[in-house]
């Protein structure tokens, strides 16, 4: 399966490999500034493992991965999600960690596995999506959604929804249905709101009306995050000089609010650099998808793009107070080994697509 040759090496998209490494290192600066204990070390180990995974996967034929490995991968991650429900460790109200010597977060792996399964199904599908297609696609995404919903992690659940929606769009859902689907989504969100838990409602309310939110309540994190971002200014307070992050006003600064730490310590310029790196990563991925040899490869890479974009939007949106807090990490930057490795797995698969664009 793994094949290395001269032409392959020449085709490696070094920029695509460099951007995620740079982002991870960028994140490490924020982790170093705010995290207690060994978080930084774990993140660096994850980066090394992630790079190794990416390189191995890069030299692997993605078609074989999609066709042969994906079902097993998908199956295993779902089993892990079930195990999490029974043996998982609860962290901050969400049960999505599994302890097997090291802590792993099966939901992160499940995201990639689900993308692979969707791409696998759609490799054979042609033309506009039929209702049957839509049904099968939904069926693929439903098991992880249900399992994660049982664990109480609304944010990750929504991520799967976003992936599914992207595949609907890219896979050729009819325009009318897309519009109808969006309408259903909006109506669904509005009707679901009163049934949310009080803390979830408050997290949404603070977005629209930060002034009247209880600063001690669930709006607290959003308010403190916005203060952190705003107080950073153009050039920031300096690395290791942030007061919001370091004095504990930002809860979990090194995971969910790493973006606020960057904004506080490195300012608007730091944020611009970070966004440029993300855009670079996404642009390279989209250009790979556009140049992919087959539909499965293109969809797989685009699914990965959708995943990253949704994470960035949700996470940074939360950091700047325009999205409710859902516990979605910032790709590559938030402290969390499984997430970093999953991202590099995605990058490796994309590189594999690129290296095989002319091969038949």
């Amino acid at each position: 399966m793994v094949e290395i040759n001269q032409r392959n090496l020449r085709d490696v998209d070094w920029l695509l490999l460099l951007a995620p490494v740079a982002l991870t290192v960028f994140g490490c600066i924020g982790i170093e500034s705010t995290a207690p204990g060994p978080e930084l070390k774990k993140q660096i180990i994850a980066l090394v493992i992630g790079l190794a995974v990416a390189i191995v996967v890069m030299f692997t034929d993605y078609r074989k991965v999609i066709m042969n490995v994906a079902p097993f991968f998908y199956g295993i991650t779902n089993v892990l999600l079930v195990l999490v429900l029974f043996f998982g460790k609860e962290v901050n109200g969400n049960r999505n960690w599994l302890h097997v010597g090291v802590s792993v977060q099966p939901s992160e792996l499940a995201k990639i596995a689900t993308i692979l399964m969707l791409a696998r199904f759609m490799a054979r599908q042609r033309g506009e999506l039929t209702l049957k297609d839509i049904g099968i696609m939904t069926a693929i995404v439903l098991p992880p959604i249900i399992l994660i919903q049982r664990g109480g992690d609304t944010g990750t659940m929504l991520t799967f929804g976003a992936i599914l929606a992207s595949f609907y769009f890219l896979g050729g859902m009819r325009k009318l249905m897309l519009v109808a689907g969006m309408a259903v989504m909006v109506v669904g969100l509005v009707t679901a709101f009163p049934h949310l838990k009080p803390y979830q409602q408050e997290r949404v309310k603070v977005i629209f009306d930060p002034a009247s939110a209880n600063p001690k309540g669930y709006g607290y994190q959003t308010i403190q995050s916005v203060i952190a971002v705003g107080s950073g200014g153009v050039v920031g307070k300096g690395i290791g000089q942030g007061t919001q992050g370091r004095l504990g006003f930002l809860p979990f600064a090194w995971t969910d609010f790493i973006g606020a730490v960057v904004a506080e310590e490195m300012g608007f310029l730091g944020i611009l650099l970070m966004m440029v790196l993300y855009l670079l990563l996404i642009w390279r991925l989209i250009s790979i998808a556009l140049g992919a040899r087959d539909r499965a490869g293109a969809l797989m890479v685009m699914g990965f793009v959708a995943l990253i974009t949704f994470h960035i939007l949700s996470n940074l949106g939360m950091v700047i107070g325009i999205m409710p807090i859902m516990g979605i990490p910032l790709p590559l930057m938030s402290s969390g080994g499984t997430a970093v490795i999953s991202m590099f797995l995605g990058v490796g698969l994309a590189l594999s697509v690129r290296m095989r664009r002319f091969v038949n």
Binding site: R126, F169, F249, L272, L279, L290, A292, D294, A298
Partner: protein, 651 residues
């Protein structure tokens, strides 16, 4: 890649491009928002981040001590470990309340009220327990993580060393009320909610002098409110110590004279030559320490309520706030006015007594019997009512009103104590106002007003100011309690500036009055039986203030109030140094209950001055009632050297 849009039925590449633009749009949106927060609104958020981490912790300035004229410390502070709650760090009110109630014995209702007080700034700590025990402090230290809002603070606590002693003069302290915050006196001086201020007596009147300047610690705190670094520290400046005009020994003796006999009333001793008050007593009194503790605890609130709701009104200062008919002590003013106006003259002052006065169908009785036709000297010595009924009628109400007003009757004396009462003096307007059914002033009204009954009711402080002024030859000094406010590193020493109101009184008149008052005590007059030491040359006047008509008196509550006012020495070549007025409520007739009190005070004054015992009775009494300072709470270090030592007073 298959690039046949027709075959696919839709354009895959177009959708991917669309996706790309969507991503771009998201990034632009995020970037714009970052720009708004970090560039456009940076200053605002910068300030908010600073507010988050920088906290000013006030360091309360100890209030100035209050001393007697000889340096005896009456009020001081000692450092106390207090448990405080910072409302802005409270995460859950309910949890904080439950914790404090269960573990530190705090009163639930009080604490709930305090925490829900909307006027109090969040940074202002709430005092929930004073004099925390070591076990309390250990508990708080152990629960610092769960309850960062509960802290132990070392603060100065006010201590009134002799409990009830001079409580009405010293006053008490308490938290500023929302109503007080609206007064310009407090608002303009920068007082804020939660401040502890003087609420009565000298504590209130001289609050600005006593309070000092609070210091502060500016610290960096983490999100749990724990200081992690100190930026600056401004030390507090203690308030100015106030040296009062009070004499501890006289004050203590005066209170014991009432309490030892279970009597109520008031007593004021002052120096007629400068208005300095040596003793001021109102009985019943209260323990100001109860208010100073100001703790959110059930016991303390009970103690406070017991004082506030006591039907005997112990907070009331009877010397300045209660008004009484003066009875015959009033006759001194009548006689002075009559002599000055020439209604009677030194040579021709005889008026019939007749044992009373028949007015229409009413007979006004002279309680002392029939005195024949006394001159003014004998009329005062024997307190002849019949004489003064007739004298009053000769003068007329308008002249009486005019003269007693000149003596300051019916007006505030201006004493440095809060809420002084004006009282009532005879006037046609007064009768019209209070008695609309019978609005016309009659001879009857003039006659009874002439012996200090009927339309006469004034606080004791007014009476002694007026008659001390007459004794001092027409110099009316404002009675006052501040002798000196001692200098601190930022404030200069302050003295009470007392300019007398002067009234031109003929020395002959003053001489006649002085001699008559001397006669009351020393010529077998109404106070002849009190037993004043002859050598003191005390001059005085008795008074009996009728509570209801005599024939109806059945119970003690209806017994007359007993007055005595006395000055010493009353001698042609000496100036009177001490004037004492005493009123014993329901004490019966003038000389009986109040006379001995004045005697003891004057004997004590001169014993101290001459350095030898004057009255054996006094020596025995003092031996029985020795004042001891209340012990400071265990472990407390007293801030000012508080020994009852005579320290020289800087003049």
């Amino acid at each position: 890649m298959s690039k046949n849009p027709k075959e696919e039925g839709y354009n895959f590449e177009l959708r991917m491009r669309g996706f790309q633009y969507m991503v771009l749009a998201i990034f632009i949106l995020l970037g714009l928002r970052f720009y708004v927060l970090q560039v456009a609104r940076h200053e605002d958020y910068k300030a908010r981040a600073e507010n988050n981490r920088i906290r000013d912790i006030p360091i309360l300035a100890p209030r100035g001590a209050i001393l007697d004229r000889n340096g005896v410390v009456l009020v001081d502070n000692h450092p106390a470990f207090n448990v405080v709650v910072f409302p802005e760090d409270v995460a859950s009110k309910e949890e904080t309340i439950n914790t404090l109630v269960e573990n530190l014995g705090v009163d639930r209702k009080e604490l709930t009220d305090e925490l829900n007080d909307k006027v109090r700034p969040g940074s202002q700590p709430i005092l929930v327990k004073q004099n925390a025990l070591p076990s309390d402090r250990a508990w708080i230290a152990a629960h610092e993580l769960e309850h960062p809002e509960i802290k132990v603070d070392q603060q100065p606590q006010r201590i009134y060393k002799y409990g009830n002693l001079a409580s009405h003069v010293l006053g008490y302290i308490g938290e500023i009320s929302p109503k007080q915050l609206e007064y310009s006196r407090y608002k303009d001086a920068g007082y804020k909610s939660g401040d502890i201020i003087g609420q009565g007596g000298i504590e209130a009147v001289y609050d600005e002098i006593l309070r000092g300047q609070n210091g502060r610690r500016r610290v960096i705190v983490d999100s749990r409110g724990r200081p992690v670094a100190e930026l600056e520290k401004i030390e507090p400046i203690k308030g100015q110590d106030i040296v009062t005009t009070l004499d501890f020994d006289l004050q203590n003796l005066a209170e014991n004279l009432f309490t030892s006999k279970n009597e109520t009333g008031a007593l004021v001793a002052l120096n007629p030559q400068n208005g300095e008050i040596l003793a001021m007593v109102s009985v019943p009194s209260f323990d100001p320490n109860v208010f100073a503790r100001n703790v959110v605890s059930t016991e303390n609130r009970k103690e406070v309520r017991a004082i506030v709701n006591n039907p005997a009104h112990p907070l009331f200062n009877k010397a300045t706030q209660s008004i009484y008919p003066t009875g015959s002590t009033w006759k001194i003013m009548m006689a002075t006015a009559a002599l000055e106006e020439g209604v009677i003259t030194p040579k021709s002052s005889r008026i019939v007594c007749g044992g009373g006065l028949q007015l229409g169908n009413r007979f006004l009785n002279d309680s002392g019997g029939n005195h024949g036709s006394p001159d003014i000297h004998a009329a005062i010595v024997h307190s002849c009512d019949g004489y003064f009924y007739r004298l009053g009628l000769k003068m007329g109400v308008d002249m009486i009103h005019d003269w007693v007003s000149r003596f300051g009757m019916g007006q505030k004396t201006g004493i440095d104590l809060p809420s002084e009462q004006k009282g009532i003096i005879p006037s046609r307007e007064w009768k019209k106002r209070v008695n609309p059914r019978d609005p016309v002033w009659k001879d009857f009204d003039t006659a009874i007003a002439s012996i200090g009954q009927g339309s006469v009711a004034v606080p004791p402080i007014q009476l002694i100011r007026a008659e001390a002024g007459i004794v001092a030859g027409g110099k009316f000094y404002t009675p006052h309690l501040l002798k000196e406010a001692r200098a601190t590193q930022v404030e200069d020493v302050k003295y009470y500036d007392n300019q007398p109101t002067e009234l031109m009184l003929s020395p002959v008149t003053v001489g006649i009055i002085d001699y008559a008052m001397w006669g009351v005590v020393n010529e077998g007059g109404t106070a002849g039986g009190v037993g004043f030491p002859r050598e003191l040359n005390v001059g005085g006047k008795t008074g009996t203030a009728q509570v209801i008509a005599r024939e109806k008196v059945r119970t003690k509550e209806h017994k007359d109030h007993s007055w005595f006012i006395g000055f010493a020495p009353m001698h042609t070549d000496q100036k009177a140094e001490i004037g004492v007025v005493a009123i014993t409520e329901n004490g019966g007739w003038g000389a009986s209950a109040s006379g001995p009190k004045v005697k003891m005070i004057q004997a004590e004054y001169f014993s101290k001055k001459l350095g030898r015992p004057i009255l054996p009775e006094l020596v025995a009494f003092n031996a029985q009632f020795q004042a001891k300072p209340e012990p400071a709470p265990a472990g407390a270090r007293v801030m000012v050297n508080a020994d009852r030592k005579r320290q020289p007073v800087r003049q």
